[in-house]
Structures are given as C-alpha cells and as structure tokens.
Amino acid sequence: MTQYTLTILPTGTKVVLPAKSRLTEIEFEILQKPIPFGCRSGSCGVCVIEVLEGSDSLGQPDDNELDFLEDLGRPGGDHRLACQCRLYGNAKVRPAADT
C-alpha cells in the first residue's frame, strides 16, 4: 500500500496516510489538531492552509474552492482548503492562521 507523509508546520508534525486519503484523516490519526477543521465541505474557510511543498501532491482545486479562496483573500496557488485536499504525494503545509 502506498503511503505519503504530510508535514504540518509550525510544529513539524508528520502524519503518514494511505495514498488518496483526505486531509481530514489527520484528525483521527493523532491526538493533536494541527489543522483546524470546521464544515469539512469547503464552505466555512476554517481549514485554509498554506502549501509550502508538494502542491501537486494535494490534487487540483476545483472552481468552487478557488473562488472561495479568493473571497477569503487567499488567491493564487499557495493556499488550499485542507478539507478539499487528498494526499497524492508527500507535502508540507502550514495552517493559514499561523502565517
């Protein structure tokens, strides 16, 4: 089974997940909550992350996500809604609230 590592700053927490796992899985893998999740459906904006490495590893955002990120003042390719991401490779991220 292919697994990938998601590294979450600023703590450097590493979570290993099977390929294609939703990032919401990290809530069930570790006791800490390094990324806050709210609605888990891409509509509340709690889980915005800055992608530091491996943006291709999180899948492509759809138009709804891109529009919402723009509304949130986080346009461009560096930010994602974590609840809309799946892990297709190793990546390093940081909650936007920590930036």
């Binding site: 089974m1 697994q3 290993v16 997940l17 099977p18 294609k20 796992s21 939703r22 899985e25 809530e27 069930f28 893998e29 888990r40 459906s41």
Partner: protein, 270 residues
C-alpha cells in the same frame, strides 16, 4: 445495587457523569471520535472487501440467469424496459429508507452522516434519468407509474426496513457500497454494449448516472461512511454478510426479471 434495592441509574462513562442526552454521534459507546479503523487499516480492509466483491461478481455471472444479457449484442426489448422500470422504482423506494438511515447514522457518527448526506444528495433524483431513458424507448411516464414493482424489489426495500429497525444502518450503507463498486467496475462495459444494441441516443440517462458514480468516486465516498460505522470486528463480519445478502436479493430480482420477460416469451413461442 444499593441498599434500597435499586440499581444505579446514573449515566456514566468510566468515572465521568454524563447528562441524559444520547444518540448525538459521540457518547455512551464511543466517547472518542477516533474510528475503530485507522486510515491504513481502513484501506487494507477495503482491499479485502473489494476482493470479496470481485469473487461475488464471478459467482453472479455463473449463477444468475442471463446475468450478462445487457452486455450482449441482442437485447430483449421487454427485459431492457422492465429493468429500467424496476431500477427507477428501486431508487424511489430505497431513497426513503436511505433517508431514514441518515437519521440512524447521525445518531452514531456525524462524520459518516455528512458523507452519506452528500452521497444521497447526488443520487436522490436519479430515478428521473432512468425514466427519461424509458421514454426514449416508448415507455411513457404514465406506463411507468402504472407498473407494479416486482416482489423482489419490494422485498429489498423491506430488507432495508428490517436492517434499520433491528440491526442498524450499516447494512443499508453496505448495499450502496456493493452497487457503487459493481457499477464503476461493470457499468462502462454494459453501456458500451447498449450503445450498439439500444443506441447511444437512447441511453443518455444511464450514461449520466454512470458519470456521477465514476466522477464523484461514489465507491470511495460510501466507503468513507462505512469506515466510520465499523466499530468492532463483529461489525466487519456483519458488513461482509450484508454484501452477500444484498447480492442474493438482487439475484432474486434478476431471476424474476428473466422469468417475466425472456423466459415468458420463450414459453409463449414454444
């Protein structure tokens, strides 16, 4: 038992006193949100389940009369039409039970309930896709509405009610995993065959239905709900049993369909 002869009725989990609220997703049995299966164990179990389903597909083709009929070059018109009619009725009846399942799922896992609600949102009105294809081959909405569903279709709906009343929502979700897995695997082959036998312009609704299953990764979506509903090894064993039982009932449907169309026509012409 205390000195008054009454058993302690305080609602406790460990040493924690709790109020009387139950059925809110977390609580008396699962104070933590951590699923029984972690992500890796869930993925491994899914592989095992998919292997079981692959074997069930082999048994399906071996044991069900005319199981591959719609994948052939010559499709019996009555069989094709009636299968669409029953499919639309099945969606109509099961969506009621599946909505009831959402209530039961929300009582034990809000995560699973969210996934299930989204899945139902995408599937809820797909009966119209099949009714549209019926109209393309000359079966009006009035004819569809006047057709009594088969007993096997009613029994499947009844089995859902039994599951919800007496075993819980896992069995209902298991049905969706079975049909979504099989649809993604086999439906493209069937649709390619139907393009030749019935005509591509006549099966647009079924093609659209298949698009949703594949593009929205419906097997993966349903599995996410399953994963949160599995709370023990007994649940896993029950889930495997549900998959076999649903296939048995669907097999009964296809036997009834075959008897009522192809076999009946053969008998009449003999």
């Amino acid at each position: 038992m205390n000195c008054s002869g009454k058993r302690s009725s305080t609602h406790k989990k460990g040493d924690k006193k709790m109020n009387r609220v139950i059925n809110v997703g977390y609580g008396e049995h699962t104070p933590e949100r951590t699923p029984f299966l972690n992500a890796t164990a869930s993925a491994k179990l899914r592989t095992e389940i998919d292997e079981q389903l692959d074997q069930q597909v082999v048994e399906w083709y071996a044991n069900v009369s005319e199981a591959a009929h719609l994948e052939g070059k010559n499709v019996d018109s009555e069989y094709y039409k009636r299968n669409l009619i029953e499919t639309a009725w099945r969606i109509r009846m099961l969506r009621v039970a599946e909505a009831k399942a959402l209530v039961e799922i929300a009582k034990v896992s809000p995560e699973a309930a969210q996934v299930w609600a989204n899945y139902e949102q995408e599937e809820m009105l797909h009966d119209e896709l099949f009714i549209a294809d019926l109209e393309k081959v000359g079966v009006s909405r009035e004819q569809f509405l006047a057709t009594e569903p088969y007993l096997s279709t009613k029994l499947l709906s009844g089995y859902f009610s039994y599951l919800l009343d007496h075993e819980g929502p896992l069995g209902v979700v298991a049905y969706s995993y079975l049909v979504e897995y099989v649809n993604v695997k086999l439906e493209p082959r069937k649709l390619e065959a139907l393009k030749g036998s019935v005509g591509e312009s006549n099966i647009g609704g079924q093609i659209n239905h298949s698009h949703t299953d594949v593009n929205e990764d419906h097997p993966g979506e349903v599995w996410e709900a399953v994963r949160h509903l599995l709370r023990s090894e007994d649940d896993i064993a029950a889930f495997k049993r549900y998959l076999r039982e649903h296939q048995t009932i669907l097999g009964q449907y296809f036997e009834e369909l075959h008897r009522d169309t192809i076999a009946k026509a053969e008998k009449q012409s003999a």
